[in-house]
């Protein structure tokens, strides 16, 4: 389907859909909508997920292979790029829809599979070994005996509210978004409600900020609205930069117009005529798609001057972040937009009084804003019914780590961790036992096996010492070392600390050093090294508390979370590292102990020659042995032994 195909609908959509508040769809209009939505098609349609995740999985080659297949056989079919529907481990995902028949979805479509699948389906046969499922649609005749995609465990336990279009629509086409009822909520808001009423509805819905502590969004908006000013700003923070969470990126790449609509409604509620969307510059694909969405929306009159004769003006500008985790903090983000170093400043004055360029500003996380159109469309009561008493609505998580089905997951608040990991995620690979999950990124915490039946919401995660944060869930199994993981987070945070306040700059660095120290062998056995190390851990807790209590911004305050919550739940593992100098997962390289299996050793002397400290002794052709006092645990002998005679414990 080329671009001109869509362009021919532009006038129709503006005239019949966007400019008519009371819609009565006649048959002709409905037929055109069916056509744009690809509900009624005349020739086969093939869609391929085309996001940064699927590109890494090889979507580009798959795309070219499909194109070549169609060209060589002169098959008249449409090939369309879509977003991703969530399972990153199933990428690239390809959908095939034959006229009149239900759409079928295939997973892991690497180029070698393309011919097999397409050959079969063009002969009216679905190769089930590659199939994920077929889509339900009352206009289409379902395939016989094939499972429906909504019934596969990954999707059936989810509640897709804000990600409903992901993987379904073409992210490059505003027409498709409009045909799937897009921008209707924006129109509803500007035609039926005053800004105050929108704020009211959001407050009644109980929406809370998804980025950090869960501050009520409606309240935040009212504060901004209450500050008198000529110009107000809305900043949508879509730079997640959390290592291990990619849901915002995936949503931006899969359904960019939903982000634009969310910003548009929110700007209206805040009386902001200018909105910024802050995207990590590294997310090139996301930036391109958002920019295209902004341009398209402008050309449709959805953005710009006097939108649909409502008197409301809005301009959205894309700002490409230059890479700084601290810009997740609102005052730092504002500084970055002003062209300064992204360093936070003390509050008050709050951004709602004095923010960007000294004007009242609201900074909201992208996911928070994505909930707004849903609330406008379904009403606050419906939204509240989704989720728990304290935390309403749904939450998007990025599930990764040692899990079978990694990906983007949307669940109502209050779903148990067990359901997320075992039902949606499909459990751990090789049926390994769960050790725990890291929730909320570097500033979050851990939940252990015991917390599996906890219902996930702001309060429950807080009660175990974590934070919901941006929503990354990283699953760990026996082969993951807690100390190593926390060390990794501290290393990340000490690099990202802006250096403005001392507790954060020095505290995180010291915590990292202590952790680094206990994951190494002491240099000598004399003196009080063990005592020193134990003192290190005593200090670790104190240090973490001080860092949490005295840091200027959220980064420092929450940096202690991983340390404190792992100390609480995995103290035994810390003690093991300190007293026994043992890493049960075998991850801390310097703590490994090596032995030589006398039966297997042939005395080839390779290990003895390679050992940097001369810790391996023995005569040629006789079994060698390792002098433990000299061994530094580098593992060179382990890697060089050809007979697997060296055992690591």
């Amino acid at each position: 389907m080329n671009e001109n195909h869509y362009n021919s609908y532009k006038e129709f959509l503006i005239r019949e859909i966007l400019n008519k508040p009371e819609k009565e769809l006649n048959k002709e209009t409905r037929d055109i909508l069916y056509k744009i939505r690809r509900d009624k098609i005349l020739r086969p349609v093939i869609t391929l997920s085309y996001t940064s995740g699927s590109l890494i999985a090889g979507a580009q080659e798959t795309y070219e292979t499909i194109k070549r297949y169609l060209d060589e056989r002169e098959i008249d079919a449409d090939l369309i790029k879509t977003g991703s529907f969530g399972i990153t481990s199933a990428e690239p995902v390809m959908d095939v829809q034959m006229p009149g028949k239900a759409k079928v979805t295939f997973s892991r479509v690497v180029p070698e599979k393309v011919i097999d699948i397409l050959d079969a389906i063009f002969n009216n046969f679905v190769p089930e070994e590659y199939l994920l499922g077929q889509h339900q649609n009352h206009l289409h005749e379902p395939w016989e005996k094939l499972p429906f995609i909504d019934d596969i465990p990954f999707l059936s336990y989810q509640k897709r509210v804000i990600t409903k279009n992901c993987g379904k629509i073409n992210p490059f086409s505003i027409e498709e978004y409009i045909a799937y009822d897009g921008y209707q909520n924006f129109l509803k808001a500007i035609n039926n409600y005053t800004p105050e009423e929108v704020c009211d509805i959001v407050e009644r819905a109980g929406l809370r900020g998804r980025g950090g502590e869960g501050y009520p969004t409606g309240k935040k908006w009212k504060n901004t609205l209450a500050s008198p000013a000529e110009q107000r700003y809305l900043i949508c923070n879509a730079g997640e930069s959390d290592p291990g969470a990619s849901m915002e990126r995936t949503i931006m790449e899969s359904d960019p117009h939903s982000v634009i609509e969310a910003i548009a409604i929110s700007s209206y509620a805040l009386g902001a005529q200018k909105a910024y969307i802050y995207v990590e510059g590294e997310y090139e694909t996301a930036c391109e798609r958002i920019q295209k969405a902004i341009d398209d929306a402008k050309s449709y009159g959805i953005l710009g001057h006097d939108i649909f004769s409502s008197g409301f003006n809005l301009n959205i500008q894309l700002f490409r972040g230059a890479g700084a985790y601290v810009c997740g903090e609102e005052t730092a983000l504002i500084a970055s937009l002003e062209g300064k170093r992204g360093m936070p400043r003390p509050k008050p004055p709050y951004p709602s009084q004095k923010g960007l360029f000294g004007q009242p500003t609201t900074v909201n996380n992208m996911e928070t804003l994505l909930n707004i159109p849903v609330i406008i469309s379904h009403g606050p009561n419906w939204y509240k019914s989704l989720g728990t008493d304290e935390s309403s609505g749904s939450k998007v998580f990025s599930l990764s780590g040692r899990i079978d089905r990694a990906g983007l997951v949307e669940i109502p608040m209050g779903t148990t961790l067990r359901d997320i990991i075992y039902k949606i995620g499909g459990g751990l690979p090789e049926s390994k036992e769960l050790k725990g999950v890291l929730i909320g990124g570097p500033a979050g915490g851990v939940m252990t096996y015991e917390h599996l039946d906890y219902k996930i919401d702001y309060e429950s995660v807080k009660s175990v010492g974590g934070a919901l944060g941006s929503g990354g869930i990283v699953v760990m199994d026996d082969n993951t070392c807690i100390i190593d993981t926390v060390k990794y987070y501290m290393n990340f945070l000490q690099k990202e600390s802006c250096g403005k306040c001392i507790p954060c700059r020095e505290g995180i660095r010291r915590m990292y050093e202590i952790l680094d120290n206990i994951s190494k062998k002491p240099s000598d056995e004399n003196g009080h090294t063990t005592l020193q190390r134990f003192k290190g851990v005593m200090h670790l807790e104190k240090l973490a508390n001080v860092t949490r209590d005295t840091s200027l911004c959220g980064l420092g305050q929450r940096a202690a979370n991983p340390v404190l919550s792992t100390l609480r739940w995995y103290r035994d593992e810390y003690e093991e590292h300190i007293f026994e100098r043992k890493c049960r997962a075998g991850v801390c390289q310097d703590l490994r102990t090596f032995y030589i299996d006398v039966d297997k050793c042939t005395g080839c002397t390779i290990c003895a020659k390679k050992c940097p400290t001369g810790a391996i002794l023995g005569t040629p052709k006789h079994p060698h042995f390792i002098v433990q006092e000299k061994c530094i645990g580098c593992g060179i002998c382990y890697e060089s032994c050809k007979f697997a005679a060296i055992i690591s414990k």
Binding site: L55, I56, A90, P243, F319, A322, A324, G339, G401, C498
Partner: protein, 153 residues
């Protein structure tokens, strides 16, 4: 120089708030921020060059060395870390002598370590220019780097 002038012309009413976009555009054009470029921007914006450096060094995406012919990007997200990415970064150092943000002397390789490449199901991941490599291990990494080394000889 002309290239930079062209970029600056895109920002006629230039203010401090345009500084980051200007520098990003320059980096996209030249591959890194050269001294001359920073000086030119400083004159254009009427801002001391030291201020521009203070900003540019704060953000991790600005480079002050040219990229290598083969630009290696390794993901170090939490998920990739758990699957062993940190070990691979150490190994990359062993094989090429590179740490994040550096370029080899012969200009062949440069390394960048990024937070997350959003394909967590396939970790550890790396990219060399536009080719992606997934589910890496030490042997695979060595093979890939050797492949690029040999293709030069």
């Amino acid at each position: 120089m002309e290239k930079i002038t062209k970029i600056l012309e895109k920002y006629p009413f230039v203010q401090r708030e345009n500084l980051i976009p200007v520098l990003q555009d320059i980096q996209n054009e030249l591959g890194y921020l050269t001294e001359e470029a920073v000086e030119q921007v400083s004159k254009y914006l009427d801002l001391p060059a030291s201020k521009i450096y203070s900003l540019a060094t704060f953000y991790s995406k600005f480079r002050f060395e040219p990229r290598g012919k083969y630009h290696i990007v390794i993901c170090r997200g939490t998920s990739c870390h758990i699957q062993g990415a940190t070990h691979l970064i150490n190994k990359t150092y062993e094989f090429t002598g590179l740490q994040s943000g550096e370029t080899t002397r012969d200009g062949l390789f440069s390394l960048e370590v990024v937070p997350c490449m959003s394909a967590c199901g396939f970790g550890p991941i790396m990219a060399v220019n536009d080719s992606y490599y997934t589910e890496l291990n030490e042997d695979k990494l060595k093979e890939i780097i050797d492949f690029y080394k040999e293709s030069e000889e």
